[in-house]
């Protein structure tokens, strides 16, 4: 705490011109820029939400506004193929996020808490998986499944989704574990807990928000993926695949309705998770 006494932040001989310049940039120009970027970020989202209420005359999304209607919300599940595609997406996203969490959490613990042979290699593979272009991963997996004669369908989609989302779970959970105080483990051990009990009683509750965040990320990435899925899907159709296939024939407004529903659900879940994790002691 002696540091705070020595802090030179209040020094009075700093040249005033510099300070003023800096304040102008940080206090006025930059925030305006940041808000413009945020606005740009939100434009397509707002468009999606507003146009999901658009009374498009042809039953296809239109470029212009034709008046307010709730028809598309009332008939959101009226298109059989689209509804089924959404069900596929939700099922695959649920399963793949659960599998990713189960596979990824132990790896995150190992990377955060232990030194072991092959750690650098593991880091590299994780980064390669995150950075690899989807088209290459998709093509590689399709080639792999073709060579082994694995029929393409929902199962291969699930495998592909776990393969790209497990590393995101590892990264998120690892960050959470690294931020924890190691003396907690030692205290549990000193109090006679064996490693298994120490994990479930001490570590697990502390890293749970990280696991939930990693699982949500995996869910979001799975429900969103188009490129890798398009390679390994075979005849199966997921929500993004259905939408992409409809681009040439015209998009029914139900697509924007479902997009809006997914958006609202995702935002609510993220806010709830961040509130819960803020309340927890770590």
């Amino acid at each position: 705490m002696t540091e705070t006494v020595l802090q030179p932040g209040t020094s009075i001989d700093a040249p005033p011109l510099v300070r003023r310049q800096r304040r102008k940039l940080s206090g006025y120009v930059l925030p305006v820029f940041v808000w413009l970027v945020i606005a740009w970020t939100i434009v397509p989202i707002v468009f999606m939400i507003i146009f999901s209420f658009n009374q498009a005359p042809t039953g296809r999304l239109a470029f212009n506004w034709f008046g307010l209607t709730g028809t598309w919300y009332r008939n959101v599940f009226a298109i059989g193929g689209l509804t089924q595609a959404l069900e596929h997406s939700l099922a695959i996203a649920t399963l793949s996020s659960i599998i990713s969490v189960v596979l990824g959490t132990p790896m995150a613990l190992a990377l955060a808490r232990y030194r072991f042979y092959g750690k650098a290699m593991t880091d590299m593979v994780i980064f390669a998986d995150i950075a690899a272009p989807s088209v290459v991963v998709g093509a590689a997996l399709l080639g792999f499944f073709l060579t082994l004669n694995v029929p393409r369908g929902l199962a291969t989609i699930l495998i592909a989704h776990v393969a790209f989302s497990v590393v995101f779970v590892v990264v998120v959970v690892r960050a959470r574990v690294s931020g924890l105080d190691r003396s907690l483990d030692r205290a549990a051990a000193d109090l006679g807990a064996n490693p298994w009990i120490a994990f479930w009683k001490v570590l697990f509750p502390l890293i749970l928000p990280g696991i939930v965040a990693g699982g949500l990320l995996a869910f979001a990435m799975s429900i969103d993926d188009l490129i890798i899925t398009s390679f390994v899907a075979g005849q199966a159709v997921t929500f993004p695949l259905w939408v992409y296939g409809a681009v040439k024939t015209g998009i029914p407004p139900q697509v924007f309705v479902m997009g809006t529903m997914i958006f609202v659900a995702g935002v609510v879940l993220a806010i709830v998770n961040s509130l819960v994790s803020r309340r927890s002691p770590a």
């Binding site: 932040g9 132990p106 790896m107 613990l109 272009p133 088209v135 939408v243 997009g259």
Partner: protein
């Protein structure tokens, strides 16, 4: 002895999964790129780079175009994200996580729907251009869709959150005392930024560049939705060689070109900044 085995046991499930469904498929793409044949008659490993040479020379226009789109969109994304990440990290105050959350909102909307929304917004007779044209502010023949700029616009928009995050992590961890020291040593704002903040955030700049550039070079969805026939990218070529022409060695050779690009980038990163930091930014 048993304690030493713990990290390996924890890693094993993920290692197996990633080895089978990520490393082996990608490695076999490399192998297949020096073979001839197709899945029905089997492959002959020629070991020639013949397929590479013909792939590159046949599709050099698309390759060069993809690289150019990749570079342009990544540089623009960096130019937009850096000030945003800088301002949030240094001046975000208590609302840091709210600003970040706003920047990440597009994650909650499907990639394909975001891109579609831009297609509708930027359409020739859409909300923006249609009105500007009817007010006589733009010539009737003016259009954005199906130009290179539309594709770069889409790529930039979709990669923004992926660049803001690593930059934010890198800038956030800069020790404020170093910045204050620079001020106390009479460095002006510009020099503090160029000599202190910019070099210290270099790992984030590089990691984000790698992530965004490699993804964007291989993307084909932005091009398919926002671009036209004159914007064909290598991702589309790979997709076509798989599904339309069934020319797997060609698809593999083109995938390998993208993969080698990724490996070179990762190698450069690891040499410059080490492997420890590589996945903290992902």
């Amino acid at each position: 002895m048993r304690r030493a085995a713990v990290p390996y046991v924890l890693n094993l499930p993920s290692w197996i999964f990633l080895a089978v469904f990520f490393v082996i498929p990608l490695a076999s793409v490399l192998a297949l790129s020096v073979a001839t044949g197709n899945p029905e008659v089997g492959y002959q490993y020629t070991g020639h780079v013949h397929e590479f040479v013909s792939a590159i020379s046949t599709y050099q226009t698309q390759l060069i175009r993809s690289f150019w789109y990749g570079i342009a969109s990544t540089v623009i994304t960096l130019a937009i994200s850096y000030p945003v990440a800088y301002w949030i990290a240094f001046y975000g105050g208590r609302n840091k996580s709210t600003y970040l959350f706003l920047m990440l909102l597009p994650f909650f909307v499907s990639f394909i729907i975001r891109t579609l929304a831009w297609e509708f917004i930027l359409a020739d007779q859409g909300l923006v251009l249609g009105h500007l044209k009817s007010w006589g502010m733009l010539p009737q023949s003016f259009h954005i869709l199906s130009t290179s700029w539309a594709v770069i616009w889409g790529l930039t928009y979709n990669s923004l959150p992926y660049y803001v995050l690593p930059l934010y992590v890198a800038i956030e961890r800069i020790d404020r005392r170093v910045v204050r020291a620079a001020n106390d040593l009479y460095a002006d704002t510009r020099r503090t930024f160029l000599r202190v903040i910019l070099p210290l955030s270099a790992p984030g700049i590089f990691a984000g560049f790698l992530l965004v550039f490699v993804t964007n070079v291989g993307d084909y969805v932005n091009q398919q939705v926002l671009g036209g026939t004159g914007t064909y990218m290598i991702g589309s070529v790979i997709q076509d060689s798989f599904f339309t022409n069934q020319d797997y060695p060609m698809a593999s050779a083109l995938s390998s070109v993208l993969m080698l690009l990724l490996l070179v980038a990762i190698y450069l990163y690891a040499r410059t900044f080490g492997t420890d930091t590589i996945q903290e930014y992902s």
